[in-house]
Symmetry: C2
Subunit: 711 residues, 2 copies
């Protein structure tokens, strides 16, 4: 008895000694607390048959064994004899003999899918490929981490989208544009010789959620990464990532032939330029045979591009596509362009530019489109390009890093945003043409499909700064694999893996997460307001700004507040951006009385006295929304406080401090925006609401010269 | 039996689960492996009498209890009854009654010293102050961590130097000038609300080695840190550090009255300027009553200063000193100045500037002098200022961050450098006037004494980038407390706390550390070469540079290689910098034949055929030294490889990769420098040595546009 109490003490002590600094992300593999469940699992996972010997299988096997050793608190034996094992893992080509027939068609699994089946006798994980096995193993570990039964498993899981990619806006000097979690995890200076353990753990984390590609460098690109010294560094990373099914991509600076190739032009139709890119592609593929390809931001916000030579985006993309095509590479060409010269509503510019080019791109080009027409605002209607380019594979570009969503100081769970976008019906060719069906190729039978997320990862101890930033990385990967998962389901999984399976903890944390997105929209940009944040760093409210570098960088360009009302008329009486949508979508937004209120001010200039569905006037509704956003943030804070004994001390305290900042920032947004808009509405803030604690001048006077993320 | 084996397994498992990512520094407190020793300690430390209740005592108590719980693997009880306890900790004012008389005079302990005494009956830690107790507790924990006997302890330990300070060259945007370990650990954006666990652990680490002050901001200063918003952030850090005996200091930008005060001048004799600084000091002290004071870099490398107003450095320093004097603050004025306009040997400029001002500074001003006359070169003779200003307290400024010492990719243990400087005899007023005796006030009875180290700390997981960078932070603190400790002794302590007490591990690692400094000097700048590194980033060799921004930024200014020979004549026939030293020192360096060869090229232009003590010519000796440096680096690598089973996997691999880089960089230095100097000597590299594997042009062509640390 004394011995057991010592044992328990030691266990507790050593557990306590593992500081929860967040580094392990959702791959924590701590011993399962529920002893009944643990006992069941131990009986079910006894001996493992898992022939390996390839880099990917070795990685999967090592993950499985170390994961099980942690979760089950026991070293699990492996056996070369399949019939003596209770957990069998094999690819189609290496299926053990004498296996009972499996109820699957391997052809359904494709190159990355897996199948998990359990009978009374054994559990089987199988796939066509090593990578499929890798994903199956991570899925299996997740079942245990989230406390699910291993009985009667019959799981067929195949990714809906082919290229599931993180975009790092990381510069070669390690600063990260729109990064709020320290600096870049790529330490270019010590590569290729020094392999940081982070590189390996980064690959593991991504593989566990199905991410299979990473663009290492910023879309505001630096040609230097294409020089030999840097390519050797890129190769070192590619070598680390390969066993985890992850391909590396680079951003290609369009003027690289001039900058590092010493040519006098970067004209995509010039033969010397083409030859230069062909040779560069060859050089890259000699080092990295499975190099993924290029991501390009061209003729946008100062980046060079084909238009500098009176060529089209298609000319530019196709030249690069031809260079990588012999090796199976792709080009992801960003649609985020808007002209400095054009007075056209910025909302409309990407569509105007790219829609006419449909059909002109090579088969290995994907057009990467931000979810909304402007720029990752808290809530945007979907880009009118989705569904409008049946002959050009459109990739989704989401932003995981919270540039406009509270940066590193706010808990905002993004899965509801991602889901809202993916489930939006574009009405292209009729009802049911969701963005998801555009992206996954179902609607237009794209030859390639892809989805990208701008990463929120940095060298902070916990990778993402805010501990809940990890959930957004996680959710992006899970939805890229299967967008039919619900936001609640993903939150549930993530919480269990990241904190614990404690019922109350899971329920409360899930509530916090699921309410956070709408709360943030309400206290920042309710009713369809957009782009009213501070200039440059994009931190905090600044709807009053009128002097930014170009007209469409100014908040006033977007909210158009005047004595009459508020909002941007994008109907036929205004910029008519609405006309870029399919008729069904136009219908949805055309009439100020029937437009969903969440999008109202995106499409209409609405009088301050306009009667809302609630019976309130627009002004009253604005006050109501801003206040309900702040109130929701306070509820999140209260909910978290109930979890003190259910979360480890470190992370409890961290999140508690951050939620206090969030409530402060939410109030700041509300106060500054209401005081400013009040100068137009001339109406009082109803007395039932908290009144601003400072003057408008005070809020206008706040400056943040060193706010992070300016790149 | 089965239970015990499970216990052992679990222990091993949980131990293994603690990834050695280096975050814990030397405060690891893992269970003592030597079971006999553990048993002895358990008997000796049974019950603790430790009345606390003040912030400092509470911090000390918590550290002691958690430290012992880790080391002894047992929760140790505390008791309010002194006579029932085996470990008694108390300040003089709270000594328990009926205590046997102690063999100490409390007045010898001063404000920070402590006394540890053990008898058969009990162990006592006592001090005059709470801070003394804090240091005593850390010392006691170190005894256990390093496996020392607790019998017959009779330790009186008092710091030799009063202000023991880290200087952070950290900018408000979190970049760190000459930082090679990520970005600044000060996250200004989330302060004051968010208290990173790092701030607390930083304070613990510093307190454990006796550091009692920290300058948070870069000497190339930004006035913004003196505005109210930032002062609130500084206060939050001061509040975290206070329980650990650490004061905060800030760098004062001399032009702050203009930049943030809207004055038209920063003339130190102007009454409005004085009033502005007085008010600023008052504002700071209202927030931070124990604020340490200011560090100032003035009229140096573009920084503003009193000379812009035809005032002296004394005028400037005294104005600031008067502002902080009422609150007990100090001003640390840097002597690192050299004029752009003056053609005078840079070596001489600080002395020329400051020596005439001796006696003109206020009592609360310290002059902070870099160890050598140039700039933290691998080996410099000591600054001629040491010993030359009897009426002005001179502080030492060492550079812990390895700007010129291999940055983050090389293992260079700096204690031998620090010791060499401190033990150097300045011969001021005769023999025995060591730099240490200048610094600690013994020689000139300074009213204040201080020592500063430019920190090598960043937000990397392990704080310092290179795992052995931690040893330099540690060594600086230990020597600041007691410079009589040997480099070997400090290495021994650090290794035991950081890795383990394994005899072979300690012996081998100590060998590596103790050989590293001389190895680095040999493969970078042997025989007194200096300042021949790359421009700007200071990474790698570039003795050929002739086009830097000003003459004395060029390597050729320093090495003066020509067809005759090599080196800078600083005797009477040259710049006569030697004349700034006391006669004894001049004697040492005057004659080319008797000058210690380690400093030869600092003071003499030596013919290529000059006969060295070894019998080799200068050229041959240069080849020999460069090669022996590389050879020594290779030996370090081999020695480390023997430790594979004695060091945790993570750090073994890390250091292994870094040593491979070090050998590569050492060879690069050798090859580039010898090829370059060969263009003057016209002599072959003797055949017994490895020949360069590239041409000089190749080495000249290497560029590192994104080498870290450029600030």
């Amino acid at each position: 008895m004394k011995r057991w109490s010592l044992l328990i003490f030691l266990l507790l002590y050593f557990r306590a000694a593992i500081a929860e600094d967040g580094y392990r992300l959702w791959l924590r593999y701590d011993k399962i607390v529920n002893s009944k469940l643990l006992y069941t699992y131990l009986n079910q996972v006894n001996t493992i048959y898992f022939p390996a010997g390839t880099p990917v299988l070795d990685a999967a096997r090592q993950e499985l064994l170390s994961g099980l050793e942690g979760l089950l608190d026991k070293k699990i034996n492996t056996d070369n004899n399949a019939s003596a094992s209770s957990l069998l893992i094999f690819t189609k080509a290496h299926a053990p003999l004498n296996l009972p027939a499996l109820a699957l068609k391997y052809e359904d699994l494709g190159k990355e899918g897996f199948y998990i089946n359990s009978t009374k006798r054994s559990i089987i994980i199988t796939a066509n490929t090593d990578t499929g096995i890798l994903y199956g193993v991570f899925h299996f570990l997740r079942l245990l981490q989230t406390g699910q039964s291993l009985e009667h498993l019959d799981i067929t899981s195949v990714p809906r989208i082919q290229h599931r990619i993180l975009n790092h806006w990381d510069n070669l000097n390690r600063s990260v544009e729109r990064g709020y979690a320290g600096i870049s995890i790529w330490n270019w200076h010590t590569l290729p010789e020094y392999i940081d353990q982070r590189y390996i753990d980064y690959a593991r984390a991504n593989a566990s959620i199905g991410i299979n590609g990473t663009v290492l460098t910023n879309v505001n690109a630096n040609a230097l990464v294409l020089t030999k010294d840097y390519l050797l560094k890129v190769k070192a990373l590619a070598d680390v990532f390969r066993p985890y099914g992850i391909k590396v991509y680079l951003t290609a600076r369009f003027s690289a032939p001039i900058e590092i190739g010493k040519l006098s032009t970067a004209d995509p139709l010039n033969d010397t330029v083409k030859a230069w890119w062909n040779a560069k592609a060859k050089e890259i593929y000699q080092l990295i045979p499975d190099f993924g390809g290029f991501l390009v931001k061209a003729n946008s916000e100062g980046q060079p591009g084909p238009q500098s030579y009176q060529r089209t985006h298609a000319d530019g993309a196709n030249m690069l596509a031809d260079a990588v095509a012999p090796y199976g590479g792709i080009v992801m060409w960003r649609a985020f362009v808007y002209s400095n010269a054009s007075p056209e509503d910025r909302f409309k510019q990407a569509y105007n530019e790219f829609k006419p080019l449909d059909g002109q791109f090579r088969a290995n080009v994907l057009l990467q489109v931000k979810n909304g027409p402007i720029d990752f605002q808290p809530r945007e209607p979907v880009s009118p390009l989705f569904g409008a380019m049946p002959k050009t594979p459109l990739m989704m570009e989401f932003q995981i890093t919270q540039e406009y969503l509270g940066q590193s100081t706010q808990l905002v769970y993004e899965a509801p945003l991602f889901k809202e976008v993916l489930e939006t019906d574009t009405y292209q060719g009729g009802k049911g043409a969701t963005v998801a069906r555009v992206i996954d190729g179902d609607l237009h039978h794209y030859p390639q499909t892809g989805i990208a997320g701008v990463a929120n990862i940095g060298n902070d101890r916990n990778w993402t700064g805010h501990p809940f930033g990890q959930a957004n990385w996680y959710a992006f990967g899970r939805l890229a694999w299967n967008y039919e998962l619900s936001a609640a389901q993903i939150a549930d999984e993530w919480i269990k893996q990241t904190f614990s399976c404690d019922t109350m903890l899971v329920a409360t944390t899930q509530k916090i997460m699921l309410s956070s997105y709408e709360a943030m929209v309400n206290y920042m940009t309710p009713l369809g307001l957009h782009h009213i944040m501070g200039t440059g760093h994009h931190y905090g409210p600044a709807p009053w700004i009128t002097n930014a570098g170009r007209p469409d960088w100014n908040p006033v360009y977007y909210h158009r507040a005047d004595t009459v009302g508020l909002g941007f008329d994008r109907t036929a009486s205004g910029s008519n951006a609405l006309a870029q949508y399919a008729p069904g979508m136009q219908q949805r937004f055309m009439d100020v009385h029937t437009t969903p209120e969440a999008f109202l001010l995106w499409f209409h200039h609405v009088p301050w006295n306009f009667k809302m569905k609630s019976g309130r006037t627009l002004w009253e509704e604005l006050c109501y929304r801003y206040n309900s956003g702040v109130a929701a943030a306070k509820v999140m804070q209260q909910q978290w406080n109930t979890l003190e004994r259910r979360v480890d001390k470190e992370r409890f305290k961290q999140v508690q401090m951050l939620l206090a900042i969030q409530v402060k920032e939410a109030s700041w947004w509300r106060n500054a925006c209401l005081l400013y808009f009040q100068t137009f509405s001339k109406m009082p803030i109803p007395r039932q609401y908290e009144q601003p604690d400072h003057t408008l001048e005070y809020y206008k006077g706040l400056h943040f010269p060193y706010a992070p993320g300016n790149g």
